[in-house]
Each structure stands twice: as structure tokens, then as C-alpha cells.
Symmetry: C2
Subunit: 325 residues, 2 copies
Amino acid sequence: MPRVTSADIARAAGVSRTTVSYVLNDTPGASVSDATRQRIHAAAERLGYAPSAAARALRRGRSDLVVAVLPDWPVGPVVEGLLDHLTDALAARGLFVLVHHHRDSRALADLWRAVTPLAVVGLAPFAPDDARAMTRAGIRVVGAVEPADAAGTGDFDASQRGIGALQAGHLAAAGHTRIGYVTTDDPRLGRFAEARLAGLRAACAERGMAEPATVAVRTGEPATAAVRSLSGAGVTAVAAYNDEVALAVLAGAREAGVPVPSRLAVIGVDDSPGARVAAPPLTTVAQPVARQAEHLATEVLAALDGRDAPPWPDDGARVVVRASA
Amino acid sequence: MPRVTSADIARAAGVSRTTVSYVLNDTPGASVSDATRQRIHAAAERLGYAPSAAARALRRGRSDLVVAVLPDWPVGPVVEGLLDHLTDALAARGLFVLVHHHRDSRALADLWRAVTPLAVVGLAPFAPDDARAMTRAGIRVVGAVEPADAAGTGDFDASQRGIGALQAGHLAAAGHTRIGYVTTDDPRLGRFAEARLAGLRAACAERGMAEPATVAVRTGEPATAAVRSLSGAGVTAVAAYNDEVALAVLAGAREAGVPVPSRLAVIGVDDSPGARVAAPPLTTVAQPVARQAEHLATEVLAALDGRDAPPWPDDGARVVVRASA
DNA sequence: CTGAAAGCGCTTACAG
DNA sequence: CTGAAAGCGCTTACAG
């Protein structure tokens, strides 16, 4: 079954391909009689015409695709919400958002070559080489690029550090002086975990508190050993890398017989759906997802129009206080 | 900055575009001297050449893209794992998987027209019209299509019903005779929820048990009212639509002072990461995600090669017994 | 108001 | 062993 092309529609409607294109694209300034328009639409409908995306992109010199690159770990509802927002915002401009789960640079390079999207939006930072290659190929790159120095100088890291600082602030305000940091054993999370820890550490130092003790746990199972060792070391409050980790800590405390929050306070990050139904309900840091998505959409649009992007919004992350801390 | 094309590479390497294409694509049977190959690769590298995906797709008559369509709700780690598997399996054939969060048929239609992927894989069933239109446009459609009759006759529904039956079986074996079904208030889940309930209902009827009482709750908050009403009606065990709902039921039981599992047993679906760290640890039904992903990949490949797809694998869903039921 | 024609960048049968 | 040329399906400046 051969492909239905605009030539077929033209033939069926008794007009030229030019006219078909004008009508189907609603080209402004094209004056085509209503009767002709009707015939063309009818023919397209009848034959099930779908224009070739490839031909269109080739001719136009650009596609309508935006690829959102996610990190290679379960993103959770927060990021999913962000993607939904982004999709809507860009759809209003005729752009389509497709999501790619990033595994390694090799796969990413293969992907953008195979797709040549209009823009690539990174929800996790890109390696500098990747970003450069994409830009060179005319693809707009939106989102953080890993800084060359490990210190982390960009907006991205600043925002992550702010999260750690918020956790420390809440815990310190409640009178805790010995804080522990619990992260996951998943190496892919390293970059986020490090940045959040750096913020936590700095905030502790500022207040003259001890350096936070750090331990990695596996999410999805009770972090019993971690709770025992932290608790034994005199830690009275845990800042967790995220809610998933915090849930593991809660379960570990239950197993170890350490009451929360009286003997051990716990604070997570994300305000994920599980936080409110945890036992006890989990205190956590919520990020302003809608605003961040809005900003990413704005950045994409700015990049397309050749405008400068506005600066990353002042964070607006905030502590959601529940029972666990 | 104009686009770098294969003509630029040809010029830089002092050969024809034909030779460039042969070398860069490793076309079998093309005998090009090693020295020439070197020069071409070097030139491509130096100029940062990325072939135009649009031109290539237009010429070849097919793209390398496979779009995985997810339902418009948070999919959770189980489906994410499935997607990872699928991506890997298809990458081995040079195919790229991109994910689209399906909102409505309109958006889906816009999308496949804008992308014209090789295949579309549905993780939730397609409306018959959507499936037909895509097939007509030469796109391979893989995954379930909503049956016209509400009863649900396909593999998809059978597998969902099996999940409900498994829950009922486990609960009945533990001596429960009055089972309640708790689903979410999210209308988008309707199809899955209905199918699972149908399986539960049938299994109860088979055993001569009462029709399960049904109630919808909002996930992410304690389902206290639901627990009270179910418990008050003599229900001793709850089959939840999924783990998220089960977690809400657990929290509701805590608030209502109903001990789990002694006064109310709870069983979920998904074996999500939160299940094991819940209080008490959640009994749930695990689906064989890896095998399902494998199957979807096989189906896509079969569709591309024009072979018949093997039947959907016998389910292999199983109950993971923990403390809650 | 409508059509013939060029050209986007690639691959590949064909000729040398 | 290598190159000139056709053609994938579209859009759009141009001519009528």
C-alpha cells in the first residue's frame, strides 16, 4: 500500500499541489475559493492523508520536535508533572515534546542525530561535549550544562544547594545540632546528592554545627543499619536525599525501635504522593515544579526566537511541615 | 551558521557525496580505500557533521523512531522499568524510543503526524479510530486497541482481570469472605480499574463470596473515611487498585485506629518501591515487567519485519507476600 | 486566483 | 574503485 501524498490529494481534488499545501496549512494570504477548500479537505479526509513529517522538516529546515532528556533514574511524580506542564506550554506553539531517558552520552548522541529536534531540554545537566555537539548541529540546548569544575557554579547547582540549606534550616530551628545526611547508593544520583549535601554542609557550618555524618542506603528497603549507626553516633535528625530515601529511613527507625520524630527527626525532598501517607507523615521540601516548567518552556521559546532567556527563577522551594520533623 | 551537509564533507575530503555516504554508513560492498575513509571520517569529525535526519528519513521512506505512548497519569517505577527494557531491546536494532504522555486523541493525532514514527507502542489501549488512522498512515501499531464492546475481550483486559483474580485468591486463602475494592478517584484510570475489579468480582463469585463493596479514594492522602465505611460494613480485607491506593488505605487505617492486618488486610498491585517500606510492609501483586517489555519489543520487531507477533505471554503475575495481608 | 518548477539533504541504482 | 544523477514529499517564490 503506497503512501498517500499531497499529489494524490491534488489529483483527487483537481488542483495543484501548491493549492493543496496552501489550504491544508492555512497559509495566510492564500486566496482559495471556499468550494476548492472543501474539496481539498474532503479528499484529504477520504484518502487518510498524513503529510510526511520528514519532507516537511527537510523543506522547512526544522522539525517541530523538542526532546526532553531525563536522567536515567526513576523520576517520580514531580518531574512527571513538570513534563506535563512543559508539553502543554510548547503545544501552544505547535511544538511536540518527546521524552528520552538518558543512559549515556553515546545513546544521547545517537538519538539527537537520529531525530535532529528543534531543541533539547535537559532535566539533568548535559556533559559539556554533548552540549557543544548539539549546538554545533543547530539544536537549541536548554537546561544546565555540567560545569567543568566539580565545585558547581551554575544555576542548577545553586538551586540544589538551596534545598540542602532549607533542610538544615528547618532542623536547626527545631533545636537539632547533630544532623545526619542519608543519600542513596545509586551512583547515578551522585550529582544531585552532592549538591544538596554541599548546601546542607554549608548551612550547618554557618550555624556552628558539626559536620553532618553521611551514609548511603538502598531505597525500597528499611534503612535499619543506617538508623542504628546514626542514632548511636548521637545524630538526632536526618536530612534525606529525597522522599524515597526518607521513607526507607522511616522504615528503618520502625525496625530499630527509634521513635520518629522524638528520637530521630526526618525530612525529605519532593513532597511526593507517598509523603503524606507515610507513618508518621513526612516533612519534606517541595520544589515549585509548575514555575520551573514554565521557565523551561520560556527558555525553549526564547532560544527559538533568538531572544535571551530570563534567569532561572528564584527558587521558591519551601518546607512542607508534617509530623516527621 | 549554515548547516554542514554531506556535500561539505565531500568537498573537504576531495571525494563525491556518494563516497561520503558509503563510508559514513558503512555500506556493505562499498570498496573504498582506507586512506579515503580516514580522510572522510576526519573531515566529518572536524566539521562536526550530523546527517539530516529529515533527509535520511525522506529518502529511506522510514524513520528510526518508535514512539511509546503512556497513559496520562503518573506511571510509576514499574512502567519506567519496562520502558528502559524496551529502549535497550530496540536500540540493538538501531531504533530509538521516545516517550509521549498521552492526553487525548487529538494530541496523539497531531503527534504522530508531526513525527511519522516507524511504530507506535501503546502502554495503554488505543481508541479504535486512532489505531486505524495510524495504520493507514503506514505506522505500525503495537499494543492493545480498545475493544468496541465494554466487556473487554483482548489480551490486555484478560491480563488485568488476572490481577484482580490473584488478589481475591490470596485474600480468600487467608480466610476472608467479605472483600472490599478500593480504587482511585482519577477517571483516567477507569479502564484498568474496571478490568481489575471485573477479575476480582468473578473470582469472588466463583468462591461463593459476596460481591465486593467498592469505593474510590484520592491517592496521596489517608483514606480514613473509606476505611471506616468498609470496616463498618463488615469488610475484613481490601484489594486496592494499586500500591498507591493501598498506601492511602494503610494511612487511613492508622488514622481510624483499625489494625492491619488483624482487623483489615490490605493487598496492592505493582510491588512499587514504597511497598516494602510501608507500615506494615505491603503485600502486593508484582507484574513480570521485564518479560512484558521483551514481548513489546518482539512485537515491534515482528511488525517491522512483517512477521506475525507471538501471543501475549502467559501472565506470570504473582503475589508478593509481606505483612499487610 | 492557480500552477510549474526549484530545492531542502540524503541514498542508491547505474554508468564509467 | 568512484562519480553524476534521480528522486523521496514537501513548501514557496515566481510567473501567469
